[in-house]
Amino acid sequence: MRIGLVVLALLAAFSAVPVALAGAGPDPAADIKAFQGHFRTELPAIPLAAYVNGPYNFPGSGRAQWKQITEFPPYSFAIDSGKVLFETKFPNGKTYTSCFSEGGIGIAGNYPMFDPKTGRVVTLGVAINRCRVANGLKKWPLTKGKMADLVAYMTVTSRGRPIDVVVPNDPRALAAYEAGKEYFYSRRGQLNFSCASCHVQAAGKRLRGNVLAPALGITASFPLYRSKWGSIGTLVRRFIGCNKKVGSVPDKPDSAAYRDLAYFLTAMSNGLPIAGPGSRP
């Protein structure tokens, strides 16, 4: 069948095109479109902006209690404390406003950010620590405590604004993005799971009493108060917890691995609104 063969050959030629493009290097814009499209197709009942509420989109997640506690949310102390920290002067008289664009208000959605000077990804926490060091203060741990409080305050001033993570056309930025993507999809630990195994393939399913949050919007409610922690924690605290779940020794909170992972994962939610700080069971 000559015609059939020609058609097949044509099909092969066409189907080879995307493969060739994929081989051309990281394409964040295409990835974001595909990522958001995947969830829109798999879980069409969830409106795009509602993904920021993670597990609460699914039954059995404690949604009713969550609605109730949003009247006096458990993270409100963190916001208050964060505001005081934000406004307290450094010994040199400056404040955090001196380190951020827009004086640090309403800018959480732009993080993680690529820093062309160092060629590295800077999360909001890392940026806060840089500001502290630049003003003669010590770094804070990135996972909880004062850091989480300050991030909570800076995040609440950004609530409702779209996540807008930029991956510039700089080979170092693209490499960091690609490293984060690889981390997200690579299976690890003795259980042999990737982040995607749970938060993409099994999104919305239950695991030992927990509903697995879909990866889309998964960063938007951070920092968040978890009853299990009994305190507020940052995104990197969650990364550490999820690595441990699969039997994998976590990376350092300020490691390139976690920065790049946050860069990739947050970028996938570009356009969704900032919803943090949040609360979870």
């Binding site: 994929a22 595909a34 690579s186 003795q190 995607a196």
Partner: protein, 103 residues
């Protein structure tokens, strides 16, 4: 009594049953631990260390300190085996992760 013989006697008294019964030696245990350590570094370099590896490794060192060289060798071998598995997993994922990626 001079101090030296006392130390010797104390040392003999501490010689564990395992070391007397089998042929496990301190040197052998230390060699096994060093071998495991090298594999653990390689796994760390690939950003894929397993908790189980580290647990076995800690057990190996603890046994070695107690003088239970046979147990130390066995636990070190287990740690090395687990580190090898995590290295193999990381190598496999270098090629496989893209097939899991949403596209």
């Amino acid at each position: 009594m001079k101090p030296l013989p006392l130390v010797l006697i104390a040392g003999l008294a501490l010689l564990p049953a395992a070391a007397l019964a089998g042929d496990a030696t301190s040197a052998g245990a230390q060699q096994a631990i060093a071998a495991a350590e090298a594999k653990i570094s390689a796994a760390a370099a690939m950003q894929n260390q397993w908790f189980a590896t580290m647990a076995a490794f800690r057990a190996a060192k603890a046994a070695e300190r107690k003088g239970d060289y046979a147990a130390a060798e066995a636990a070190a071998a287990e740690a090395g085996k687990l580190a090898d598995l995590s290295i193999a997993q990381a190598r496999r994922q270098k090629a496989l992760w893209q097939s899991e990626a949403v596209r």
